[in-house]
Symmetry: C2
Subunit: 231 residues, 2 copies
């Protein structure tokens, strides 16, 4: 499924980027008419690090992972994306190149909006520009904290933090299917997949979480927060 999307307007779309509310009716109309929609099945690459940032991406349904590709194939999953969020890397304003990759974790429907259009609104609409800056800044802060976590916390602390962020920021429930494989959980929390298994098992033994098939339930959130805070 792909093609120009004129069925829904970005102004009424419930999953639109909040910053679009700073656009005028005409501007909204313009992006609505010029956007492209496309569907991806779980596992498909939406864009790859190194490719040009010709379009901004917005998910209208599904979840995707953003990851950095490091040395000898190792990856760092920066986070999971849900609808309602602008997805273009900082490369858009540096070298017009993506520096991370975006891959669908579930089936995904995505809108592509020409970055030329976005950049033109940045120049002509100061509220929109400010909203964009807030968005970039907020993501930048998250990267700081992700870095601190990965560099300074030990494995249990990183795993605890990872589980909490999945529960509180992605799935909005203490019982969730992480979608991520153990390998991917490792890329998300900075450890080998074997250690993911061991630490999850330990959390189970201590009654902090419970695993049932592929779903994880947080039983003792306070303890998890403690482990996360104490590194």
């Amino acid at each position: 499924m792909f093609g120009k999307g004129t069925d829904i307007c970005c102004g009424t779309c419930p999953n639109a980027w909040p910053n679009f509310k700073n656009l005028s009716t005409d501007e909204i109309k313009e992006i609505s008419e010029n956007r492209f929609q496309s569907s991806f099945i779980a596992g498909e690459m939406i864009f790859k690090a190194g490719s040009p940032t010709s379009n901004a991406v917005f998910l209208s349904s599904g979840i995707a992972k953003i990851y950095l590709e490091g040395f000898d194939g190792k990856k760092i999953i920066l986070g999971l994306c849900k609808p309602g969020r602008l997805i273009v890397g900082p490369g858009a304003y540096v070298d017009s190149t993506h520096h991370y990759s975006l891959v669908a974790l579930t089936d995904v429907r995505a809108c592509f909006i020409d970055m030329k259009l976005i950049k033109s609104y940045v120049q002509t609409n100061s509220l929109f520009a400010e909203g964009y800056m807030e968005d970039i800044s907020e993501k930048s802060l998250r990267t700081f904290y992700k870095m601190m976590s990965l560099v300074q916390k030990k494995m249990p602390g990183r795993m605890a933090e990872g589980l909490l962020s999945l529960a509180d920021e992605v799935f909005l429930s203490d019982e969730f299917n992480p979608i991520l494989s153990r390998q991917e959980l490792g890329e998300f929390t900075g450890m080998a997949k074997e250690n993911v298994v061991r630490i999850l098992k330990e959390f189970c033994n201590e009654g902090i979480i419970e695993t049932n098939g592929s779903t994880i339930s947080i039983l003792n959130k306070e303890k998890l927060k403690l482990i996360s805070a104490n590194g």
Copy 2:
């Protein structure tokens, strides 16, 4: 030494932020007249994480370190700052709070410009806004690569990368006094100070670098690049 600085104009200052060239003569005049200057001696805190981002900081002379404060007092030095660079964290557009600290490494002279002024130009001057966005984006990218380095490379790779960045980006010479103590070099490359000593010694033994008092000379840059690239 401190006070309002009307002696030099930000438009002619050789150390001005490049993005100031996007300001009009009147705007330049306004910031020139409203800026404050202050001097710091080596070791002094210029601003601390948690304090309000009421001012943007620009060094007019000297070098300072930017660092994140992590868990139980551990720090991550993100980088060294020289004149010509805007210093305000991403917090300016999120919660008006600094998320990293800035400390003078040498004696430093700094200009403080009210963020209200900067933010007002962002709203009225789209070229300036775009320049600011490029600046943020570029720093954001650097954070990505710093994170990858710290998380995925092993100690020799991180040290090699650290030395190369000091030589090529900060001191612009293969022979330099890093200003940073071994402890700080450790905070910069993500390792304990003892390991900084050991790895520097090893690099010396292999003829890659030479230490003479407090100065470090890179003798075999290619090999250093190789170590950095291979993690």
